[in-house]
């Protein structure tokens, strides 16, 4: 698998040809206005200001808007508003192809889905792992995916670090475990306090946090762990290594293992990773 952009993927799939892609890119170029153009249109910057900022960008590796704020040419509020407008008006490649009649809306949805699967590459995190875990490719994948999934599923910003203690605090009362079977046996345990558990369960189920009962809270946390492990197994599968997931077990953690602290803006949790060759 290689990293590629959506247009390249569509050509590879035989959905469009290079001429159609070029046509769509030209349409995007016409419609997607630069931040400087938007600022000029709103009277926030003069042409000469934009030219000065463009020239400064050749010396400094900073986005146009950030540079304008740093130089006192735009306020932070104006920049946020302009960025918001730019996003709203943005024409993505897929929509450009639909407008041009090269793809149908339903086909675009299916292709975006396939592209996401094709391109969901995994970058190993920067955490230094205990030597017992470095042999298992799945572990860094899980550690890399965990904060990204917390953000994606629950808009939960979370930091992860090896724990000083192997004891799981009793405040982390919501607990689930899932076993992964392959060449090696891996048990993943997730423990969370009420804040983290309800954020994850709410995001997973779409149920308002105040409406989550204890059972749905536990189920949602389990489903989150299932998604995390499933996507890690999928990434591993792309590297040619097959592993199987077992259904989630509620209210338990692996009896021992390597513990990672999970620190969210509000609330906390722990991830327990147990490795064995006995599975």
């Amino acid at each position: 698998m290689s990293v590629k952009f959506f247009g390249q993927f569509l050509i590879e799939q035989g959905e469009i040809d290079a001429g159609q892609l070029r046509e769509a890119l030209e349409r995007m170029q016409m419609r997607n206005r630069a931040l400087g153009d938007l600022a000029i249109a709103e009277g926030l910057l003069a042409w000469s200001d934009a030219e000065r900022l463009n020239a400064a960008q050749r010396e400094v590796d900073r986005p146009f808007g950030e540079l304008a704020v740093a130089k006192g040419m735009l306020s932070r509020e104006d920049l946020e508003r302009l960025l918001c407008r730019q996003r709203e008006q943005r024409l993505p490649l897929g929509e450009a192809l639909v407008e041009l009649g090269h793809l149908s809306v339903t086909r675009l949805g299916a292709l975006l889905d396939r592209f996401k699967i094709d391109q969901s590459s995994i970058e190993t995190g920067q955490i230094s792992l205990p030597s017992a875990l470095t042999r298992l490719r799945l572990v860094p994948i899980v550690l890399d995916l965990l904060p990204r999934f917390c953000m994606r599923v629950a808009r939960l910003y979370l930091k992860l670090a090896p724990a000083r203690s192997q004891e799981i605090d009793s405040a982390l009362a919501h607990r689930v475990t899932l076993d992964v079977r392959g060449a090696q046996y891996l048990a993943l345990g997730l423990a969370a306090d009420g804040a983290v558990a309800s954020a994850l369960a709410g995001g997973i189920s779409g149920v308002a946090r105040e409406s989550l009962d204890d059972s749905l809270l536990a189920d949602g946390l389990g489903e989150f762990l299932n998604m995390l492990a499933g996507n890690a197994v999928s990434a591993l599968d792309r590297e040619g290594v097959t592993a199987q997931l077992e259904p989630v077990r509620q209210a338990v953690l692996p009896p021992s293992g390597h513990v990672f602290d999970l620190l969210a803006t509000s609330g906390r949790g722990a991830l327990v990773v147990r490795v064995s060759t006995l599975g």
Partner: protein
């Protein structure tokens, strides 16, 4: 034949079922006619409800989604089955599902648009299948 797409949802997680139902509830063209929490129950529910489409997880207790897909396809070949699973991104699992006759494989966590797009394709299929042949 009903104009609505009749759908059965199969997942061992109540949260996953709730999420799927919330997406489908917003679509007037869909009626969720049943749910099941494992593959064995799915076979019973599908036999009773005769849905147009089954959205089914893979990792489940008792009978998993792949085994249930194999059985459902052999017993009720007219039923269309899409897999919605956390291991949907695994080429080996997705490939197996497609080989067994799944119409689509969606990896969790999914975006609402993916399910909407799948439903649109299935509605189109239903309308085409219902059109009298001349």
């Amino acid at each position: 034949m009903s104009e609505k797409l009749r759908v059965v949802l199969v997942d061992d997680s109540r949260s996953a079922l709730a999420k799927l139902e919330s997406v489908l509830r917003a679509l007037e063209s869909v009626e969720v006619v049943g749910t099941a929490t494992d593959g064995a129950m799915a076979i019973t529910v599908v036999r009773q409800k005769r849905p147009d489409l089954v959205l089914m997880d893979i990792v489940m207790p008792q009978l998993d989604g792949i085994a249930a897909l194999r059985l459902l396809r052999s017993q009720q070949p007219a039923v269309r089955i899409a897999i919605v699973s956390s291991v949907g991104g695994a080429a080996s699992r997705a490939g197996e599902a497609f080989r067994l006759g799944a119409v689509q494989v969606v990896a969790k966590p999914f975006e609402r648009e993916q399910i909407e797009s799948l439903i649109a394709l299935e509605l189109e299929h239903k309308r085409t299948a219902a059109r009298p042949r001349t």
